[in-house]
């Protein structure tokens, strides 16, 4: 125990000195702004340099095997690395520049990919050089994803893909995309699906951004017209794509448990408590003047704390075992409830000022709160809706009999 502790301390020291030499001071504490997509002026080029250095070290994907470009760290070391990044005001910019690469595609390739696929795709993800998108949902296949119909035909030396995907986040600037396609129309619907990885740089793939209730969004519609996928780009076996795809969704859920930062919610940088004091006022004893609001605000803050404590508890219980946990569904539902309630409280506190759309008369925080409130409604829909998560909990955790409910 003591030796392990010493070794971890030694690792921390190593991280600290590496950060001192490699993390550009101009970026200190600017992670939230950068990850939120804001332009940060001249620091932009420092951010690129920082991303390159972190990627080259393998620390953007700290627990991935070193032989493919990952950090090769243990869970304990990875946690220490994160703590040191936080302490230095640093952050991992590649989580954004890799699209779905680091959070979802990479872990799935590491699990199901061939040696050749790992060699070709993983190290590029580790260095943040390739932005990955995913094509799962279709206009007629949302919660009932297994009814998808985009078709892939074997024409001998490659696959020809025809159909449409939707909610393909970031597809308009992605270089690669992982898609679920139907390769067998006769088999039961879950048994005729395969997972293909496709180069986006071809005429057969077109994207169109989708505008949402909160305005511009990263989501796109993506159209495949006689698009080409290479034979060696099928992830997992032919017609086994449902299993691969579901596994990837578990990684997605894990990334939406609220355990990792950058889950947004209301876009505001001020604490809810401070906003409440500014907008609703306080009484002589420093309490929020509106007793009803104070009580509801407290209930929300307790929910948020409970969620945070649950992430900590489940992490401690796993004792460094990073396997995708069954608890991801409860954490995802709790996270979306907490963040949506926070956004609702935020605009309620701001009153009419919390309903500005653009232009003069509203602060940037106020405008961000409105947009965040609206875009946050997606949290309980994407990645398996609130209801789908409840199906999963009922079936997989509680062992309730299945009816029409499917996970």
């Amino acid at each position: 125990m003591a030796e392990a502790r010493d070794a971890l301390e030694e690792f921390r020291t190593e991280v600290r000195s590496w950060l001192a030499q490699n993390f550009p001071p101009s970026l200190k504490g600017r992670g939230a702004a950068l990850m939120g997509g804001e332009t940060i002026g001249e620091a932009e080029s420092d951010a690129r340099v920082w991303g390159k250095r972190l990627g080259a070290k393998g620390w953007a994907t700290p627990t991935w095997p070193a032989e493919y470009g990952g950090g090769g760290l243990t869970q304990h070391q990875a946690r220490a690395l994160n703590q040191e990044l936080d302490r230095a005001g640093a952050f991992n910019p590649l989580v954004r520049t890799a699209g779905m690469g680091i959070t979802m595609v990479g872990p799935t390739i590491l699990e199901y990919g061939s040696e050749d696929q790992k060699q070709r795709h993983i190290s590029a993800i580790c260095r943040g050089e390739v932005f990955w998108a995913l094509g799962y949902s279709e206009p007629n296949a949302g919660s009932d994803l297994a009814s998808l119909s985009m078709k892939a035909e074997d024409v001998g030396d490659h696959w020809v893909v025809n159909g449409q995907k939707t909610w393909t986040s970031g597809a308009d600037h992605a270089q690669w995309i992982g898609v679920l396609v139907r390769t067998d129309f006769e088999a039961p619907k879950r048994d005729g699906i395969s997972f293909l990885m496709m180069d986006m740089n071809q005429a057969g793939i077109e994207t169109r951004p989708i505008e949402l209730i909160g305005g511009a969004s990263p989501f796109c519609e993506t159209f495949f017209n006689d698009a080409r996928a290479e034979k060696n780009e099928m992830l997992g076996e032919l017609n086994a794509g449902w299993t691969v795809g579901k596994r990837l969704l578990q990684h997605e859920r894990q990334s939406q448990t609220g355990a990792s930062s950058g889950m947004g919610g209301d876009g505001s940088r001020k604490s809810l408590r401070d906003v409440a004091k500014d907008y609703a006022g306080v009484d002589a004893e420093g309490r929020l003047a509106d007793a009803d609001l104070r009580s509801r605000l407290t209930a929300h803050m307790m929910d948020a704390k409970a969620h945070k404590l649950t992430i900590a508890r489940i992490t401690a219980e796993a004792r460094g075992n990073a396997k995708v946990s069954a608890a991801a569904s409860i954490l995802k539902n709790a996270a979306s409830s907490v963040l949506q309630e926070r956004a609702e409280l935020m605009i309620e506190l701001m009153g009419h000022s919390g309903l500005g759309w653009e232009g003069e008369g509203f602060s940037s925080d106020e405008l961000a709160a409105v947009r965040g409130w609206l875009s946050g409604k997606a949290m309980s829909i994407y990645g398996g809706s609130f209801e789908i998560q409840n199906n999963i909990i009922a079936k997989n955790i509680l062992g309730l009999p299945e009816n029409t409910q499917r996970g």
């Binding site: 409970a306 404590l309 649950t310 900590a312 401690a316 009922a394 009999p401 029409t404």
Partner: protein, 378 residues
Amino acid sequence: MAALTEEQALLQEQARSWAREEAPVAKFREMRDSGNEFGFDKATWASIGEMGWAGIVIPEAFGGVDVGYLTFGVVLEELGRQLTASPLLASGLVAATALIAGGSDAQKKQWLPKIADSTAIVTLAVDEGPHHAPASIAFAAKKTDSGFKLSGQKVHVLEGMSADAFIVAARTSGTPGDGVGISLFLVEANAAGVRRQRLRTADSRGYAQVTFEGVEVPSEALLGAADHGDALLQATLDRARAGLAAEMLGTASQSFDMTLDYLKNRVQFGQLIGSFQALGHRASGLYTEMEMTRSCVEAALQAIDSGAEDTPQLCSLAKCKAGAFLHHVSNELIQIHGGIGMTDEFDAGLYLKRARALEATWGNQAFHRDRYATLLGF
């Protein structure tokens, strides 16, 4: 509970099987039907004493094992599952806590070993009205030549019918609402002027209304310094709330398990009712709430053990969340069981009644939301 040590896991297993075999809810029902005025079975309490559970937080020098509040929570949760009735929480956790933190050497020597082996029951007498309001204590203790004279009434005193001594929170200065000027006194139940009356509550436990009619006590009866008992009282109450929250988590978890079991066995319309999505989603929601509650309860107990600064808010969080979840799940327990849940023969009603009593003890949800907000500065 999460990340338990090997010892804690063993104790959990021991407590679970002991409660299931020796002190199950059927035994509580028997006790209730017998009209037992103490609200617990003496033999059950003696067994608890033999196993050493009443000494979990008491220092070894005074006959305990001193292994902390998380460990105590592990036991309380298991007993809460079976509605096992005993003075374990009131005496072994709450009174022991006050004595350890504020008692004189003589008081500790006299009481702690007996609390630890369950041969004496000591309990905290704090509330004076229908709601928990420690800042508004009006119960007066007046200085006399040789000590103090206590006059007033305490209500809803846990294990009040069986207690050998009371730890009484009294006002020695200031005015109700001040939050200062409180002193704690250790008063023996057989002192002249102490009268107790049984309160027969829906949960069939041993509550009493205790009247002190000019009870004279020497200065040595003080627990801690006169007029400065507020901090001691708050610290004691926080540990009491965290322990109670662990018991509530047990009672709530059992309510959930009973409900889940019913969903997997009851057939209507030719299928198991657990296959209906309307019910499955309610079970999923309860499960999610249960996981969140467990995290809060455990965090509060761990905070106490590690002396963390945010212990007071975590204790309020634990008590509030445990109250909310227990409230919800005890109602669903009845609703999902339908008609059978309404019968006294079935256990659901026992859990529902106990749930509300636990919710009201040492601050309900509203009390703890208010306190949480105040502690966080708004």
